[in-house]
Amino acid sequence: MRERGKIDVAAGEVLLSVENVSLSFGGVKALAEISFDIRKGEIRAIIGPNGAGKTSMLNVVNGFYQPQHGIITFKGKARSKMRPHEAAAGGIARTFQNVALFRGMSALDNILAGRTLTMHANFFWQLIRFGPALKEEIEHRHRVEEIIDFLEIPHIRKVPVGRLPYGLQKRVELGRALAMEPDLLLLDEPMAGMNLEEKEDMSRFILDVNNSFGTTIALIEHDMGVVMDLSDRVLVLDYGRKIADGTPDQVKANQAVIDAYLGVAH
């Protein structure tokens, strides 16, 4: 249970709302009429057994998938179709289940790539790397160094990320998402495959991001302990349907959730 009490979730305004979203691939229904919302400043967990549609849900939110039905409203703007780079421009950043970094590039360059949208020097200046382009590089480099310090990874700055251990790759990926200064941060299993110590570090970073930058976070996670500790509200999916939605305590006590996780005798 979270005792931070910093954000009055009930009073937080709705940042993202999803209404009756359905998504299917051929005959397979990945999501069936899902509705939920994410409020400003909260940490929202999405949980459910494997294949429940959690990642599909994130993919819909950041525009990788186009739902067949339903409306998504983000920052007051409704849309039914949006492309990923438009979602990014609108302030949605994300990380991936199986780490999607630019493997050949250094940790520094990976995080700098997250600044793409905030850099504006035009093609010509960049071609000669002079004037505004150079000034901009220096400014953004400064910001990126802050993120690197925040995530405690200065020692791996110049290392090609393909060579880093998994836990650090996940951290670099989080750094890249933070570099975008997003309004909404989507984390797809940020702690998958980590040991206890790494999980604790990552939990701390997530809480810090939420506390100090006020970033709204939606995360998918399998570790129930982590979910219950971190999140303000939990959405539970099973077979593409929403089976529960509420505070960690409410969800824990929900019979449908218990059945979905433990199985039920028919």
């Binding site: 492309r83 630019f102 790397r129 590089e137």
Partner: protein, 318 residues
Amino acid sequence: MDLLYKIFLDPFVQMGGAPDLLVQTLWEGLVAGVLYSLIALGFVLIFKASGVFNFAQGIMVVFAALTLVGLYEHGVPAFLALAITIAVMFGLAIAVERLMLRPLVNQPDIILFMATFGLTYFLIGFGELVFGGDPKIMITEELFLPKGAIDLKMLGGFVSLQKIDIAAAIIASIMVAGLAVFFQRTRIGRALRAVADSHKAALSVGISLEQIWVVVWFAAGIVALATGIMWGARSNVSFALEIIALKALPVLILGGFTSIPGAIVGGVIIGVGEKMGEFYWGPLLGSGIESWLAYFIALVFLLFRPQGLFGEKIIERI
């Protein structure tokens, strides 16, 4: 013994005996190498940004050169023709992105590779339709490219340097240096590398694949135009030029598919190796080794350093 002498000693005796010829051969090799590098550069650009081997790079060289000369033949002033050709290459980049790459997004690389074959044959047909199949003469003088040769008196003989070759070497060097900095140290350059590494991650940080693809194909088009002008000045502008693109393959294997400096060094090694081989060792095998020596060198390289001299070593965690 006689054969060993001919292979291991005689060529070097010849080199020592006529150093001016040696320098001349080296120079010609260097120039050929620089031009190979230019073609290879076009490949590297597109490969870096999209992981696709662009089979159409050779025909793009021909197409760009033909457009330039064709426009001039129709009475367009030379520099206006150059500007229009650049615009045409930009249009081609947009068309390729819209009609070829966008519908094939997220398909396996081999599909995109096959699509570049399609593009090649389209450009051959379209080019012949518009400009005809006859060889044309490159408008070097009109573009103020130097003509003639400088004869240097050295080493007890003459070494003759074509001015156009010198110009080619200078232009290629500038292009390479510029592109290397652009790729390594700027936002768009970083975005290009990001797209090459992972499409979905690039999308998630707000990089527009469409925009990046247009940028690289346009850059490759400009490189193709420069190559077309330089090669065209040495021979003629004809569809036969297309096969020089195949010479870029050994260059790429040597230099690494992802490295711009590699394309240059690889080009020079292949160019010099070819000319030296042809001149000094060629007679042993009845000449004609220029046509296959490059591929032989590439094969040997593949055995020992498959990522090339400067290529990124592929790191795979298991």
